[in-house]
Amino acid sequence: MMRRERWQQIQSLFEELVDVEAAERATRLAGACAHDLDLRRSVESLFATDGGPEDPLVQAIGDAARSLLEQHRDRLLGTRIGPFLLDSILGHGGMSTVYRAERVDGRYQQTVAIKVLHHTMLHPRLRSRLHSERHILGTLDHPCIARLIDSGELEDGTPYLVMEHVDGDWIDAYCERRNLSIGGRIELMIQACAAVQYAHRNLIVHRDIKASNILVTGDGTPKLLDFGIAKLLAPESMAHTVPVTRLHERILTPENAAPEQVLGRPITTATDVYALGVLLYQLLSGRSPFRLLSYSQLQLERAICMDDPVRPSQAAAAQLRTRLSGDLDAIVAMAMRKEPDRRYASAEALADDLRNHLLGKPVAARHGDWRYKGAKFMRRHALAVGVATAVFVGLIAIAAATLWQNHRIEMARDATARERDRAQLVSAFLVDVFSQSDPYKARNRDSTAKDLLDQGAEKIQKNTTLQPEVRAELLESIGLAYRRQGFSGRAIPLFEQALAIRRDERPADNLRVAAALANLASALSDDGNVVSAQAYLQQALAISRRGNGPDSVVTAEILMQFGHLALDTESQPQRGIQLFREALAIYRNAAGDHSFMVAATLNDLASAAVWSDDFAGAEAYEREALRIFQEGAGRNHPEYAMALSTLGHILTERGKYSEAEQMLKAALEVEYNVYGAGNPRVAETEAQLGVLYGRSGDIARGIAASEMAVKISMDRLGTGNYLTGYHLVSLADLYMKAGNLAAAERAVRQALGVYAGTLPARHLYVASARQLLGEILLRRGELAAAMIELRAAEELCSALAGADSWRTARARASLGWSLIAAGNAQDGEPLLTAARERLVSSLGPSDPASQLASARLADYYRSRHRDAEAARISGASAAR
């Protein structure tokens, strides 16, 4: 061993001279080692072996490598295993080499394939299992399964399997080489499924179905190889608890592994169904579902467990897209579901669906299945897109509700097979529309939701093969979804077409015709066309009462709708309440006190009570409704949000501001989740918050909320909807309170313009708007103009709400004050005095309207030096 110091000398000299030319190196080396010949010789000998054309190190290593490879490659060729002579290598698998062998004992001619395992250290337990299970495998006798003929061990203990030799091509190569049609490929898959099903019935799971385990013979018969072998090759512990793709990636091709295999969960027949799905994907699209060159194994495994592959139709060449989209995409998706128990129940079921597809029959993968889609959709997108997804979630919920409604209608009748089929077609179509939309592609969520529905509507129009009733149902479903999304105008033509179909197809089917009429009426009234809506509803109610009986749920639904019309667009709260109560009784009777329908009706009754100024009654109705929703619905239920919002409104009116704010904010949260930010429902709750903040004195926040409401309403509903006017009035009120009179006047005049196009001229909303305009004009000093508005408001309120209503009193108080301001105290004072008394008695002294009237009257008294009377009024207000 060289001494350390000496080595360092050698090393430093070598490094110093290594890049120097040979002649100069010799000179310098001689100089450096003048007195140390030994050092010089050491360095010289190093340089002597440096360089050269061949690298002896590479040679030495290469010899060893070559010898190793040679030894492990062909050592069995030309030798015998049992009666078989190994004559060539058929292939190298991950864990084995497969030899072609001929029987040479002269008894008969037989060609076999012998698989010799590489693993020299086969676990003893594995060895014994190989023996016990080969008998079971040997019993598999199916034309599409390559038979296991024998198994054993070589002298050194290396296990081998003797199998039927199949002369053919790998299934993927076969399909490509013969340029097989999609139908031909499906036929092959059906046969493969049958073989797998046969093995499953014999309690044998393949575990490693893939293209390189299926050969197709010259006559087109697929033959599955290696049945049950994967299990034999994996130690017992590996079978269930270990991510098999890792260490034993050579057992399983990772990209074909099912999620449960990656996760080390129990492997069942469903694992084979998944693998058949992967194979189908590959044969149809020509690509692997999860193959990406850049994937590391870890990424691949994650993808297998988390990601949905691109649909085969999208993965395939362009000319195949149409052929693959729809049924085949759905079939592959169902076979490849992450959850084993949600895949096809068996290989046979998969084959059945493939057969259905070939025969043009409906496939199971596309119906009865929308709940799963919806759930999956939410699961998949909830994290990633949050609010952007909400619209879709909402849409799917709506589709679900629609289908449920259809289903219920179905149940009310004798559900014939034909009708069930129709329901399935409808749901399949809808699922199709939803599943083919991509929320990531759209620029914003609103256009996404609308685009989705537009696509659906267009598909219905284009599809000329739909049965009329299926078409009608689809039109109604999409129409309903449009309506819930606030696109009522687009729903109308769809509902009209559906109604025409219903009338043509089954004029006597009063239930469907009535429902179609009611749908159309609802869209029309949403769209502000109250008169037509009323006419259609009249027809619907009459048909329903005559055909379904006065106590049917359908009748109740129409009654509810009628009530809404009376309440929202006709300003007849009493009539509304009467209609709602009628419906409520039917619902309580039919569905029980805790049903959602009862809750929804209570919600509407509360709204009607608000309109009748019965806030205490409204609060009671609404609290009961909220309780029912709270108990029965999820926190993200739209109706729950509605109840919260309405209760917030009622509590605002009752002066319970902090609880009101709590309710409204909770409602807003749900609505953002369910509908997305741009929805009219969000606008209504925002507007209500605006009112609340205005009342509780936080005008700036009130304006912000109210402006938001107006903006949403303008964007979504436009000026053709009275709701936009309503929100404008609320905003104008806040502007006025903030002292921004010009903006307030602009807003309220815009609102009146909206009302003129969407509401009857004699409507309480119009009265409220004119009242507000009068007040604004009053504050701007335009007394004459103000008085015109206030007189009109007074007249309308008196006619619509009654001479005794607080609305009328409010208008009279304002009118009285303007008369006083104009110098006509003689008429003004009694008007103001009486109105104030009426306001205080009906709304209480602390209501803003009462307080305003009281303050004005006190001002008037003081201006006339009637301080005692002024003090009495102020004192009365203060004392209360």
């Binding site: 061993m1 060289m2 350390r4 080595w7 090393q11 070598f14 490094e15 290594v18 000998s45 190093l46 340089f47 002597a48 072996t49 440096d50 360089g51 061949e54 690298d55 002896p56 190190l57 590479v58 040679q59 030495a60 290593i61 290469g62 010899d63 060893a64 490598a65 070559r66 010898s67 190793l68 490879l69 040679e70 030894q71 492990h72 490659r73 190298h92 991950g94 864990m95 080499t97 590489h118 693993h119 020299t120 250290m121 130690p235 512990s237 590996m238 608890t241 270990v242 991510p243 890792r246 260490l247 050579r250 080390g264 590391s296 194994q297 870890l298």
Partner: protein, 189 residues
């Protein structure tokens, strides 16, 4: 031992002295070598020795790339090239034992007869010399291992060891010269 072991986990276990890790690693290396052997050896003329070396190197890269994070690469490169050295040396030792037992001198197969001259020494001698070198200058032995058994380029070694490529180049020349000297002197009694 946990059953869920990857190649790199096994490497770590081997390094930390777990007795059966090598036994479990070796078949993985063999499998990888076999997988690649066909690609390099089948029906191709030329330098089979170099091809075999390339097979070793490619096997090495394939084994190591699976699930190693960047910061762990240097560590695993070192372990895997050590492993490759072990596999080849063990193979060579078992072959020479067989030959001794059989009492015959193995001749090269016909197909290899045309190869440029086989080495004057075998991988066992190289292994011994490397062992001596690592006593003297461990870094040099490491560089040799990475380059010859792992197939890493100078740049890759430089990156893995945090030294310059020029240093790697000098190191390899020095180490190789030293090894050849050592082998030559050991060979002569």
């Amino acid at each position: 031992m946990s059953a869920a072991t990857s190649f790199t986990q096994l490497l770590t276990e081997w390094r930390s002295g777990q007795p059966d890790a090598l036994e479990r690693l070796t078949p993985l290396v063999y499998d990888e070598l076999r997988r690649l052997a066909r690609k390099y050896m089948r029906g191709e003329r030329g330098n089979h020795t170099l091809q075999a070396t390339a097979v070793v190197h490619e096997a090495f890269m394939r084994l190591i790339q699976a699930d190693v994070s960047l910061q762990d690469r240097a560590h695993f490169f070192a372990l895997a090239s050590r492993l490759m050295r072990r596999v080849l040396v063990d193979h060579a030792k078992s072959r020479s034992r067989e030959k001794r037992n059989a009492g015959v001198v193995q001749t090269l197969p016909d197909e290899l007869a045309g190869d440029a001259g086989a080495a004057d020494f075998n991988v066992i001698a190289l292994d011994d010399a490397l062992e001596s070198l690592s006593q003297l200058e461990p870094r040099l032995a490491q560089v040799i291992e990475l380059h010859y058994f792992g197939g890493l380029t100078y740049d890759e070694i430089a990156a893995a060891m945090g030294i310059s490529a020029a240093t790697v180049h000098r190191d390899i020349r020095l180490a190789r010269a030293w090894l050849l000297n050592d082998i030559a002197s050991t060979g002569k009694p």
